[in-house]
Symmetry: C2
Subunit: 148 residues, 2 copies
């Protein structure tokens, strides 16, 4: 990946336990598969890959584990250029993504270009800000050089 701050297998398993979730074989398989991805993916894609790795893991379990991982902050949901939404592996801490609108590559951007959270409390009168979501779209280096 682009920077080295992605969570590792033991880290995620630790977070799981710490949050009160059980560490099961199915979850291991799903997490291993997710950690191997370097671009956004759909639930269906993940189901296929997990199924290829372990035929006994159920469809519902994959989606349930995705929910858990979103809850833990290991992955996030993003819009996909094609419409619908996908999932993407997230490094820890506040950050945003640059998404290649051609191949789906996801780059993690360190930091946040927005002003301090304090300044944004007054974004709109009376609105209590809780968070934000920022996604950049464009072409990654590889896709720029491909003709067409």
């Amino acid at each position: 990946m682009v920077n080295g701050s992605e969570p590792t297998m033991p880290q995620v398993l630790g977070s799981l336990q710490q949050a009160g979730y059980k560490v099961t074989a199915a979850r291991r398989t799903v997490i291993e598969t997710v950690l191997g991805k370097d671009r956004h993916f759909t639930g269906a894609e993940l189901v296929a890959e997990v199924f290829a790795a372990d035929r006994s893991v159920g469809r519902a379990t994959v989606f349930r584990t995705l929910d858990v991982l979103v809850d833990l902050g290991v992955i996030g949901r993003v819009h996909r250029p094609e419409g619908g939404h996908g999932y993407v592996l997230c490094p820890r801490g506040h950050h945003h993504h640059a998404i290649c609108s051609r191949c789906g590559l996801v780059l993690d951007l360190p930091g946040c270009p927005l002003n301090s959270e304090a300044g944004q409390d007054t974004l709109v009168a009376g609105f209590r800000l809780q968070g934000h979501r920022l996604e950049y779209y464009g072409l990654c280096q590889a896709c720029q050089t491909k003709d067409n």
Copy 2:
């Protein structure tokens, strides 16, 4: 709504024609329904409302009209806190949204807090920026005062 820059019925119909689309009864009904909304909505919600207004409008036509309106820039797609995505009425020009995570109210934010586009060309080495999507989440004034 919060600011007065939302498109009006004649404006949207004009845009429709100008873009080469025909002005039909079904589209009028869908557009009227959309213009009456002040928060994000799902396709299904809109289908129900349009159907209530005119029982003869088909499901597919509602979604087709939504596509046209996205194309015209009258509405945009946003993430919904509950997951999935929704549609939201948009004023013209580059802007972003503040979305109440409790009631779904959407506030249009004039301008853009990000630095000039020029500066963002170098966001990540080699990445050619095409655009971005920014959404704020929080509680609107009304929802802050509601107990819980």
